[in-house]
């Protein structure tokens, strides 16, 4: 584990000591190398987890998320080059350092053994993200966005701290490997209900659950591209990962307690997908689609069957890559037109045909086209929830249809139709942008050949 953590930490001195024309090249290359080092962790043996040290371990749930995190850092760096080109050198280095610190904390979070360490690192990821959103965002609403982001997450997670310490007192340990065997079943008494709520609310806010999702559109829209990418792809998955870890401790109270959240998620899925159909802001559309996909993950985690967990993991990885790719595509629009309004940059297929190909592939992945892992994830979740209760199929089916509707709406608005006159003189696609899209899509396509590695 140290062979990933120490090189990531060492990326920081490397950034500060590089020559001015080499900072992007150095950081992107070395972060790609680090992601290559993390790939062997995907080779998990059977039912066990790889216990690497006293502090870090990785099992088939955390390994795909770890690889996703390390894969995203070079992509974030590539995506940020354009909007930072006018900043001074030390500000560029500071931005890269923030991304590297965030990466380091995320790697340690996904592989933490002890739940308190997971908590500390979970909270610690808020600080670099806040700095990225507030300092480098573009509109004045970013101040509000940062505050909403910070305070929503903290309000949810402070009870989690109290609950974790309480569990440590009663169970004796919070080491994840040990606690699976020592966890006592808890029934649904009033105090246990509060314990359940305290444990889960932090992750519900982070996922986000439909009623608590207000921070997400603000934060995603106001963040710069790297901030949006890391928020959508990885930080939301922290919530899902945490939920999957902590539900082990909370049986069988989950049977009763899950109902309100299941209903919020199921209804919220349909609501946020419907809102996407009426969005004018492109990034806001992608943000609401993230809420909708994550609601599926919440439903899957609350059902707690093996198939639903597999579906949730696959969906998390798939959504990470797809949503990050959509944000990159939206950013390539933003850099040319300097507005996020969709109709201002329409008919791009005639002007940027290769980018239109990437738009098409990303939209198809978002709609869960077979055989991508998006479909595998969604299918597993839908089937598992059907076996939990027959009625959920109605809402899930509605959600799938509406997802297809808004994704195609986004595609046709930005790509098809006649272009407007004011965008006739935009820059053609840079190689960097094409490479970015390809690097997002390639893992997605390759995983559809062997989905076993992300199925946890």
């Amino acid at each position: 584990m140290l062979k990933i953590i120490v090189p990531t930490a060492m990326l920081m001195p490397m950034t500060w000591l590089s020559k001015p024309n080499m900072i992007w090249i150095n950081s992107t290359t070395y972060s790609l190398l680090i992601s290559l080092i993390s790939l062997p962790y995907l080779n998990q043996l059977g039912d066990n987890s790889l216990n690497l040290s006293l502090l870090f371990f990785s099992d088939s749930l955390s390994a795909p998320l770890l690889v996703l995190t390390t894969w995203l850092l070079p992509l974030m760096l590539m995506a940020s080059q354009s909007h930072l080109s006018k900043e001074t050198l030390s500000r560029k280095k500071l931005y890269i350092t923030m991304l590297i610190i965030l990466q380091l904390l995320l790697i340690m979070t996904f592989t933490a053994t002890e739940l308190i360490m997971f908590y500390i690192l979970f909270e610690a990821t808020l600080i670099p993200t806040l700095i990225i959103i507030t300092r480098w965002g573009n509109q004045t609403e970013r101040l509000n966005a940062g505050l909403y982001f910070l305070f929503y997450t903290l309000m949810g997670s402070l009870p989690l701290l109290v609950a974790l310490l309480y569990i440590q007192n009663t169970t004796g340990t919070l080491n994840f490997l040990v606690i699976q065997y020592w966890a006592k079943p808890i029934s649904a008494t009033w105090s246990n209900i509060f314990l359940w709520l305290a444990c889960m609310m932090a992750f519900m806010v982070k996922m986000p659950l439909y009623g608590l999702h207000l921070w997400l559109p603000k934060a995603h829209v106001e963040a710069p591209i790297a901030g949006s990418m890391v928020l959508a792809a990885v930080l939301l998955k922290l919530g899902g990962y945490g939920m999957m870890r902590i539900t082990i401790l909370l049986n069988p109270a989950t049977n009763q307690m899950a109902y309100p959240f299941m209903m919020l998620s199921l209804w919220g899925m349909v609501m946020t997908s419907s809102i996407c159909l009426r969005q004018t802001d492109l990034k806001s559309l992608i943000a609401y689609s993230s809420v909708s996909h994550m609601a599926l993950v919440i439903v899957a985690v609350l059902i707690q069957t093996p198939w639903s967990y597999m579906g949730a993991t696959a969906l998390m990885i798939a959504h990470g890559l797809t949503s990050s790719m959509l944000f990159c595509l939206a950013n390539s629009n933003y850099e040319r037109v300097h507005s996020r309004t969709m109709i201002l940059a329409r008919g791009l297929q005639t002007i940027l045909p290769l980018m239109a190909a990437w738009w098409l592939l990303a939209s198809l992945a978002n709609l869960a086209l077979p055989p991508t892992i998006n479909l595998i994830g969604e299918l597993f979740v839908v089937v598992a929830s059907f076996s939990w209760s027959n009625m959920t199929i109605v809402l899930m089916g509605t959600n799938i249809i509406i997802t297809a509707l808004y994704t195609l709406y986004m595609l046709t608005t930005t790509q098809r139709g006649k272009y407007t006159h004011h965008i006739k003189n935009i820059n053609p696609s840079f190689t960097r942008e094409n490479a970015l899209m390809a690097l997002h899509l390639l893992p997605l396509l390759l995983l559809s050949l062997n989905p076993k590695i992300v199925l946890g």
């Binding site: 904390l105 908590y119 500390i120 690192l121 909270e123 610690a124 808020l126 600080i127 700095i131 507030t134 300092r135 101040l143 940062g146 505050l147 910070l150 305070f151 903290l154 309000m155 402070l158 009870p159 701290l161 109290v162 310490l165 309480y166 007192n169 105090s191 509060f194 305290a198």
Partner: protein, 347 residues
């Protein structure tokens, strides 16, 4: 102030606190407090203006009242136990009187009203001494009598202090008042754990002193006293903007900075003693504190505050205040969390 006089006065302040901390005779405790009080008054009035005079007068009146209450408690203890030794077994009546007296000295709610006004009226370096050094003596006595303190009184004061510290600081723009409300809130946290684990109170005090020292020194280095002048830091000393950012987040108790250690340990101590709602309430109210620290961070480091164009041409003076030990203090205020496992030696 002339150096020999200043040295004499500082020595008296220090020896006053030392007497309170090390003595075992209750009368010497009272004498120590009085020495401390009388010697700190000239320090509070270093800048001679009516505001400072008013602040020093308010400080004197409240602290003298508290000392008299303390004396009353001491005499009641003498009446019931017949001896002057500082020990753990106090009469409950005496314990209540002493707790209230020491709470007045510390600025715990509901006796907190003097803290913002006194802190605002004095200069930054005097405010530094007021908020850090002056807390040591009362807390040392509370440490010694902690087994006998009435729990409901102490916990009420703790919860009220955290709430007052949170809500009171929200409308402030003057940095000294913000630090005063921050001090009230931190004293509330310290009071909360005093019943169960006085060692954690000392830990909280230590980390609070380090963070407050660093904050005041950064403000003095910049010679700013208001939020709006703090927002010009990016122009004068850009490095300090990032320090203020991390320091404010550390004061707010965000992991992975050192400000999180006392909060974590206190919540752990409280949950070990079967109190669940109270640490949740304390933690949630501490988020109010975090809000105004975040506001300071926003204006300083993360946004560019509206200013006129001449700001860029500002003549940058050399810092006149002595900010000794600033780099180690900054490191200690932000990076102590990995050393948290060492806290097991405190048991």
């Amino acid at each position: 102030m002339k150096p020999p006089i200043f040295i004499t006065i500082m020595l008296t302040v220090i020896s006053g606190t030392m007497i309170v901390m090390t003595t075992s005779h209750w009368l010497m405790v009272w004498i120590g407090f009085e020495m401390n009080l009388l010697a700190v008054i000239p320090i509070l009035m270093k800048k001679y203006n009516p505001r400072a005079t008013e602040a020093a007068t308010k400080y004197f009146l409240t602290q003298a009242t508290a000392s008299m209450l303390l004396m009353m408690g001491i005499i009641i203890n003498l009446l019931h136990s017949g001896q002057w030794t500082v020990s753990k077994d106090l009469n409950p009546m005496a314990s209540i009187m002493m707790t209230i007296a020491l709470a007045m000295k510390l600025g715990l709610a509901p006796f907190h009203f003097w803290v913002p006004e006194v802190t605002q009226g004095i200069s930054m370096s005097s405010g530094l001494i007021l908020l850090t050094w002056q807390k040591i003596a009362p807390l040392s006595i509370l440490y010694q009598i902690s087994p006998t303190i009435n729990p409901s009184l102490l916990l009420t004061m703790a919860i009220m202090s955290v709430m007052v510290g949170g809500w009171g600081g929200l409308n402030q723009t003057q940095l000294r008042k913000i630090m005063a409300y921050s001090s009230i809130a931190h004293m509330g946290w310290m009071a909360a754990i005093m019943m169960y684990s006085p060692t954690m109170m000392i830990l909280n005090l230590t980390i609070y002193i380090i963070m407050t020292l660093t904050t005041f020194m950064l403000f003095m280095h910049n010679s700013t006293t208001t939020t709006s002048s703090l927002s010009q830091t990016w122009n004068k000393t850009p490095l300090i903007t990032s320090f203020i950012l991390v320091l404010m987040m550390s004061l707010g108790g965000l992991p992975p900075l050192s400000g999180f250690i006392p909060k974590w340990m206190i919540i752990q101590g409280l949950t070990k003693n079967e109190m669940i709602m109270m640490p949740t309430l304390l933690a949630m109210t501490a988020l109010l504190n975090l809000y105004f620290y975040m506001r300071l961070t926003y204006t300083t480091a993360l946004t560019m505050f509206p200013s006129n164009n001449c700001m860029k041409m500002k003549w940058r003076f050399e810092c006149t205040e002595k900010t000794t030990f600033l780099p180690p203090l900054i490191v200690m205020s932000t990076m102590l969390l990995p050393l948290a496992p060492m806290l097991s030696i405190l048991d």
